[in-house]
């Protein structure tokens, strides 16, 4: 260490102190959050330099609950100097209000690309749709979150939407997945197991998406046969066996590939019946998804969840019309 080094350090530290003092003096915004009142139900405070996530981490113990603070104070923003309330308990987890109740649309995609066909959405369309969700403050949630809402236990952000993709085409990995990563939007991909490594997604791709934490992989039958219809010449016992196989085999295959048991099931063609639902329950599956085009309320029956199909030959107006997040009475 040279002789003049301590004096240089002293000058540097003086400069830094002066910089922070000036910074604090110039700013009229409060630096720290000031608690104005508090009991077991609410914290009332004047916001400092923290955002909703930080406040949620501090007062609710979970930074992902920032939306709860934002929604409780709407239309007031969580900005420095604003007085806000933080509800310490979510007293209304089912989203019922005087004017109506909250609904959650589940969007259902299939293929991505430019080959054409109603079931195919181009990369540009998909990106435009995801950008719309982001710009208009929709919150893309996981099916897991929706499950809590359906149990009547877990409130959801007001403008919640779920994204799902059926079948397991490879374009999910090549086109949809990079876009979902770009927007940091979670999605659930339902694959039918005979298609895995056989024209559809490969094991390597499934594992990569699963490892990202953004994509949840769930079963969509074994062969993609219609589970609600008897095959031609199929006896009752053959039908029963087919239903068992179509539910059990893809679940096992996904479990062995990804190391965790699937929880949700999308019916091929969206068709089901009580027997199939019983099979889902017997296999520990918690949700069954159809393609009836409506959004879902908290009281929706979990084994007949509605989903709205997104077609490639429709415009943005049609997409926007499917984002119904509140049902008026």
């Amino acid at each position: 260490m040279s002789a003049d080094q301590p004096s240089k350090l002293l000058i540097a530290s003086l400069f830094l102190s002066l910089f922070f003092l000036l910074g604090a003096g110039c700013s009229s915004r409060p630096v720290t959050t000031e608690i104005l009142a508090r009991d077991s139900e609410f914290v009332v405070l004047r916001v400092g330099n923290e955002d909703a996530s930080e406040l949620a981490r501090r007062y609710l113990g979970d930074e992902s609950l920032g939306w709860l603070i934002e929604d409780a104070n709407e239309p007031r923003s969580i900005a420095s100097g604003n007085e806000i309330i933080i509800p310490l308990q979510n007293d209304n987890p089912i989203g019922f209000e005087f004017e109506g109740y909250q609904t959650v649309p589940i969007l259902c995609y299939h293929r991505f690309g430019n080959k054409g066909g109603r079931l195919e959405v181009s990369a540009e369309q998909f990106e435009q749709q995801l950008a719309y969700l982001k710009q208009h403050d929709y919150r893309v949630i996981r099916l897991e979150d929706l499950y809590g809402f359906l149990k009547g236990e877990r409130g959801l952000p007001k403008r919640s939407v779920v994204l799902t993709i059926d079948d397991g085409h490879r374009s999910i990995y090549t086109i949809a997945y990079p876009l979902l990563k770009k927007f940091n939007f979670p999605a659930t991909v339902f694959v039918y197991s005979d298609y895995m490594n056989n024209g559809g997604l490969k094991t390597k791709e499934l594992k990569a998406m699963n490892a990202s934490g953004l994509i949840s992989l769930q079963p969509h039958s074994k062969t993609h046969s219609n589970l609600a219809l008897n095959g031609i010449g199929e006896s009752k016992s053959e039908y029963r066996k087919r239903i068992t196989d179509e539910v059990r085999i893809p679940s096992r295959k996904l479990e062995s590939t990804l190391g965790k048991a699937p929880k949700y099931y999308a019916y091929p063609f969206g068709d089901t019946n009580p027997q199939v639902i019983e099979e889902l329950k017997a296999n520990g599956l918690l949700l069954g998804l159809t393609v009836q085009p409506t959004a879902n309320a908290a009281f929706n029956y979990p084994y007949l969840l509605n989903r709205s199909m997104i077609f490639g030959d429709r415009g943005m107006d049609d997409f926007v019309a499917k984002l119904k997040t509140f049902q008026t009475r």
């Binding site: 139900e41 609410f42 089912i94 005087f98 079931l119 219809l229």
Partner: protein
Amino acid sequence: MLSAAKHEQKGDLYSALMEYRIARTVSVDTTKPGREVKRLEKLIAEKTDKLMSIAEKKYARGKLQSAEVLYFKILTLDPNYRAAFDRLRDINRKQLHKKMKQKVALSQRYRKSSLRKKNRQTEDEGYIYSRQAILQAENRANDVEGYIAELEKHITKYPSDTELKEMLVNVRIVQARASFGESDYDSSLDHLAAAEESLNNDDKFLKKLLAARKEFAKELYLLGLRSVRSEPVNAIELWKSALKFDPNDKRTQLRIDTFENRQAQ
């Protein structure tokens, strides 16, 4: 407090309760908000229990729709009223099962031969969803154009689906008839021409459209006949419109020629 009172006045007791609870948190020096909270909690409990008792009677009698309305009301007063929530789910389950039965019946109806190739499954999926989009559009009573657009898209993709071609012809003829009834003959013609364009390879449907054209032309011809003495100019207009529907109608052409010759003399 004011806000809470306004909510209560409107009947939104839950929001009023929330406001009083916040007021209770903020106003530690007064017991008034606390008293209001207790009063409202009691009021809500009384109201919800009363509504629940009526709803349960309706439910037991199988009057699910009116019971459903009451369960909704209970949950807007108290979103944590579990018994009402469970009943709503039960009603929803029944409704969804009913809808699903209808949907499966449609799938059954549209099912093709079991000999289809395995790799055509996703193509069939497109076919079924395409038809579902049509039904969805059909149910949107005010969106006939949307319904027609769905039919045309489907037929472009699945040109052998004669059942839906028939649906398209029928809806176009119905629309043509509606416009005709409003004396909007151009719009009526547009509907028929659009159907002919969509189905230009199918003689069976073209014949049906031709028959519709002839029928409209005949009606206009007769209308012209009725008004030829009192309003000859109008009659000529009607016959000219009739010829647009059926350019090969010699009878109408003869009437126009005769009238025009007389005018010329």
